[in-house]
Amino acid sequence: MDRIIPDNECDLRVNIGRLRLRNPVMTASGTFGYAREFSNLVNLHRLGGIVVKGISLEARPGNPPPRVVETACGMLNAIGLENVGVERFITEKVPFLRNLDCPVVVNILGDSVEEYQQIAHRLNEVDGISALEVNISCPNVKKGGVAFGTVPEMAARVTAAVRKATSLPVIIKLSPNVTDIVQMARAVEEAGADCVSLVNTLIGMAIDPQTRRPKLANVIGGLSGPAIKPVALRMVWQVASNVSIPVIGIGGITTASDALEFLLAGATAIQVGTANFYEPRAAEQIIAGLKNYLHEQKELSICDIIGTVQTG
C-alpha cells in the first residue's frame, strides 16, 4: 500500500465541474477541523481537497456533552454544529487555508433558506475558497424542524438560493435518511447544483442500560464510520446512475479499496470522514493505494475506472 509510485506514472486528476482536483481524495466536513489540526500529521498539500467544518452565519455553541459515542464499527455524534461563525472563520481560519496548495471547500449550514443564501453570499467575496458544500441535513426552523434534506422541494429551494448567491461551484450534500435518494439528487440537480456529495450521517441512538439514559445528551445523533459504508455505497451508485452532475462519495471510507468501491460505483471523488480520527493518514494512504491500483490494473487514469462497475 505504501509503496510510492512517481506521480507521472499514473493520472489521479479529476474534475468536479470547474473544480480541478489533483486526486479524488478529499477530507469530509467536521472530521478534519479547519485542516490546521492535522498539519503535524498529514501532508496537506498532497490532498485532493479539504472540506472544512460546517459554518453558519452566527457562531454556534453546539450541544451539551456527551457529544460522541462509539458504536459497532462506527460512532454517533451530536456536535450540534458548533462553529465559530462566518466572520471569525474568515478572519481566523481562512488565512491558513488560503496558503495551502489544495482546494478548500467550505461546508455551510443554516436554519432557513435566507441564512444559507446570506452565508453563501458572504463567502463569495472571500479569496482562497474553491467551492461551497451545502449541508442540507439541518432542520428547517420555519417548517417545524423538518430537515431540508428530506423534502425535495425544500432541498431545491436551498440549492437555488445558494446558486444565486455565489459564483463558486455548489456541492449539495445529501442526507441518507430518506426513502428515495435519487429523487433528492434529481431535485437539487434541477435546481442548479454543480455536484452532489453523499452521504451525511444516518440518524441513530444509543442508550446506557445502567443509567437508563441516552448516551448522547442530544438523545439522537449521526452515525458514521465503516458501519455505514454499504448503505452509502448503494446510494452513491443509485445517484450516480441517475444524475448527470458529478457525485462525491462519502461514508466509512478508510482504505484505497473502500475508495475504489465508490469510484467504481460512479463517484468522481470521495471524502474521508471518521477515518481521520482513528487513522489520520487514511487520506494519504488512499492516494498511494489508488496509484498502486491503477498500476496493477494497467490503467492510465483514475477517470478510466469511474463508474465502471459491472452490474450487468
Partner: protein, 261 residues
C-alpha cells in the same frame, strides 16, 4: 507543538493489580516531545471494533525513547490492551493536549485518585529533575486498596516526595478519601496538581479555592480524535462557553472550567 503518529513496539507489560496494567512502548518521537500532563491516543486493534483510539495520559517517559502507560481495564479497548505482549506493535498519536504548568518554585502537592495517578508520575519526575527540594512536596494518592497503589507510591517516594496513600478499604495508608487529607497539607503548599475522579477533583478544587491555592486539574471526556477536530470532547467552561478537553486541556486551571454537581 509537534505531534506524531508512531507504530510502537511493546517492550513490556506488567500487571500491578487484578485490573491494572502498565505498558511500556518504544515511541522515540512522542517521548522526545512529551510534556507532563499530555496524553496519547492509542489504536488498540487493526480492525474496526473497537473503532476509535483510546486516550491515555503519559505515565512515564524515558530519555531512551520509551513511554509507559498506566491503565485500568474498563471495557473492550482496555481489555484488548491488557492482552498485549512484548513484541506486539500498536499505533500511538501524540503527545497531545496542554499539560501541567511547571513554573512554580514553591512547594506543591500532587493529588491522584485511581488511574489519575498516571500523569502525576511523569510530572513528579520532571519537577524533581528541575532541582527543587522534593521532600517539601506532597503526593496524595487515592486508590481502592493497597495492591493498586503500593508500587506506584514507591515510584514517588524514590524521587524524594512525601507520599501519603489513602485507600477505600484502609489496606494501605489513610482509610478514606484523599480530600480528607488535604486540610493539613494545603497551608504548606502554593500549588496543587490533581487528576482523578470528578467528585474528588471538585472537592479538591473547592478546598484550594478556599485556601487560595492555585490548582491545576486534568480532565477526562469521551474523545473521538484527540486533535481538536471533532469537537466531541467538550466540557462547560467557566463563563458559559464550552471548552475542548483535548486541545485546551486535558489540564486546566481550576477556574477555567465550571464545576457542577
Amino acid at each position: 507543538m509537534p505531534e506524531f503518529q508512531e507504530k510502537c513496539r511493546v517492550s513490556a507489560i506488567e500487571q500491578l493489580a487484578s485490573d491494572v496494567f502498565r505498558l511500556t512502548v518504544h515511541a522515540p518521537l512522542i517521548a522526545g516531545a512529551a510534556h507532563p500532563g499530555q496524553f496519547v491516543m492509542v489504536r488498540v486493534v487493526d480492525g474496526f471494533d473497537p473503532l476509535l483510539r483510546r486516550p491515555f495520559s503519559i505515565h512515564q517517559q524515558f530519555a531512551g525513547g520509551s513511554l509507559k502507560l498506566l491503565f485500568k481495564v474498563i471495557g473492550q479497548g482496555t481489555h484488548i490492551l491488557s492482552g498485549l505482549a512484548a513484541g506486539d506493535t500498536i499505533s500511538l498519536l501524540g503527545p497531545l493536549g496542554r499539560g501541567f504548568d511547571l513554573a512554580c518554585r514553591e512547594p506543591v502537592c500532587l493529588i491522584g485518585g485511581g488511574m489519575g495517578i498516571a500523569p502525576l508520575a511523569f510530572l513528579a519526575k520532571r519537577l524533581a529533575l528541575s532541582g527543587r527540594d522534593s521532600s517539601l512536596d506532597f503526593v496524595l494518592l487515592g486508590a481502592r486498596d493497597g495492591d493498586e497503589v503500593s508500587s506506584l507510591a514507591d515510584d514517588f517516594s524514590q524521587l524524594g516526595y512525601t507520599v501519603v496513600p489513602a485507600t477505600d478499604d484502609g489496606s494501605l495508608g489513610h482509610h478514606g478519601f484523599i480530600p480528607e487529607l488535604l486540610d493539613d497539607v494545603l497551608p504548606a503548599v502554593s500549588r496543587v496538581y490533581s487528576c482523578g475522579p470528578y467528585p474528588m477533583m471538585r472537592t479538591v478544587v473547592a478546598k484550594c479555592q478556599k485556601a487560595d491555592v492555585v490548582c491545576q486539574v486534568s480532565l477526562e471526556t469521551h474523545m473521538a480524535c484527540g486533535l481538536g477536530a471533532c469537537l466531541g470532547c467538550t466540557v462547560q467552561g467557566n463563563s458559559g462557553q464550552y471548552v475542548h478537553v483535548c486541545k485546551q486541556g486535558p489540564v486546566f486551571y481550576s477556574g477555567e472550567v465550571a464545576w457542577t454537581e
